[in-house]
């Protein structure tokens, strides 16, 4: 098996063998984080730049720890404390970092396609850490890794993804990834946040959470992304909660061994009740733990070994 990509820009263009290579590598690397000395020398001398043009808690620190556990050096950039506030463009910012000879750039940006744009002119490996409403590939990979730990097989697994699908890059990446692996996906949300076009990605569309939960194996709740909503998409948080909040009562409708997932940050009492977020069926913190192994795998697969000639 081999990971054939030079960059990780999204899930859409990966094939099943690429995906399984990442998951298997993460499986092998996860043991390192349980050691007393949580470090291996593999990427010694490699430099990684975390370029975060949008706020992040989990993803940024997860990439940072992943790099450090592989002995790579990593520096952090965040928009708020940078020259971007003085008017420096994305391209110029990247070119300046490139002049410092890094090996990989991890990019989060509010514009869809920003990592792809960067990959067209830079020498480093580019890793998409979330771009606008487009993709968040490492999140989908860690979700798949977490599902595989609980469910063993993806074939015909019933996955329900609930919430602000319109603005969610996590939902897009997960639809691409889980459908490639053979899962059946139902997207649930109010019509204003769930465009009919999502049918084209191979998912089923529903506006009723209660109806969709029957027979569900995996329930993935999403946050309402008020920062991306330029209009009012539903009348009130209260109404949204009444229709789409995952409560104990609603959870009874799903399969009894169903798991609850959330990419975070969670808004308790809006899309998920506190009891459900903290219940034994919730793997939300397991997702965070697995995020490190997945990001270690991506860094290892992109930066390990000699610079390969890729035809692209």
């Amino acid at each position: 098996m081999e990971f054939k990509q030079r960059h990780l820009l999204g899930i859409q263009h990966l094939d099943v063998s690429d995906i399984l290579t990442v998951l298997d590598t993460a499986e092998s690397l996860s043991e390192i984080s349980t050691r007393e000395v949580k470090k291996v020398p593999t990427l010694r001398g490699k430099t990684i730049v975390n370029l975060f043009f949008e706020p992040s808690t989990r993803t940024r620190s997860s990439f940072e720890l992943a790099a450090k556990r592989l002995s790579a050096d990593i520096i952090n950039f965040s928009q708020q404390t940078s020259s971007v506030v003085k008017g420096e463009s994305l391209k110029d910012t990247v070119l300046n970092f490139e002049a410092m000879n890094p090996d990989a750039l991890v990019i989060r940006h509010s514009c869809s396609g920003a990592p792809h744009f960067v990959s067209t002119f830079c020498r480093s490996h580019v890793i998409n850490a979330g771009d606008g409403s487009h993709e968040h590939p490492t999140q989908a990979l860690l979700d798949a890794f977490t599902i595989r730990q609980a469910k063993k097989s993806f074939r015909d697994l019933r996955v329900v993804i609930v919430g602000d699908i319109l603005h969610s890059r996590v939902a897009r990446s997960n639809v691409f990834l889980l459908s490639k692996l053979g899962a059946q996906i139902t997207l649930v949300g109010p019509p204003s946040l769930l465009p009919e076009e999502f049918k084209n990605f191979g998912a089923t569309i529903s506006h009723s959470l209660d109806e969709s939960l029957a027979g569900a194996d995996v329930i993935m709740m999403l946050r309402i992304q008020t920062e991306r909503q330029k209009a009012n998409f539903f009348p009130s948080i209260r109404e949204y909660r009444n229709l789409y909040c995952l409560t104990e009562k609603r959870f009874q409708l799903a399969n009894k061994d169903a798991i609850i997932m959330h990419p975070g940050p969670i808004n308790r009492g809006v899309e998920i009740s506190s009891e459900m977020a903290d219940s034994v069926k919730s793997v939300i913190l397991k997702q965070v733990e697995n995020g490190i192994a997945i990001r270690m795998a991506i860094l290892y697969l992109l930066l390990g070994g000699r610079e390969r000639e890729t035809a692209d």
């Binding site: 290579t21 043991e31 020398p41 290892y300 390990g304």
Partner: protein
Amino acid sequence: MEEKIKAKVMDAAKIKRSLVRMTTEILERNRNLKNLVIVGIRTRGIYLGKRISKLIQDLEKVDIPVGVLDITLYRDDFAELETQHMVQKTEIDFPISKKDVLLVDDVLFTGRTIRAAMDSLFDLGRPQTVQLFVLIDRGHRELPIRPDYVGKVLPTSKREVVQVKLSEVDDADEVLITEPAELK
């Protein structure tokens, strides 16, 4: 790549006799068997390690745990590898600090694998002793490393390839010397 088999150096019976003899040497040297643990280097070191553990069990009725070490992350030629090496899991679910660790591999050649294995071991703890067990020592050392238990010393040329086959993963128990076919 085409390869030519030049010689069969060991068959199943010879491998078995060597393992029994080496196990006796291990027992001679390690009076306190309770402190002994075995770590096999992927892939064939694992099966050799398990066979030694079984032999000790038969002879002394003591259970010696066997762990698995994957050295991919510690290779010194990591940056120059042409092809990607899949990392596999290191599975040592017992503490190795203050233990006598028997490090097991099939073939000892340049010594670089053992260097990587020892670095990896020391990240997991501080063993009391590390003893090296190899079925074949084919020479051409590039590092100051020597084995404590050797099945067979096999003088080879650098061009030759020594293949240890074990029935757990291969079709038979045997040791072959092969050589890549001449380029036409």
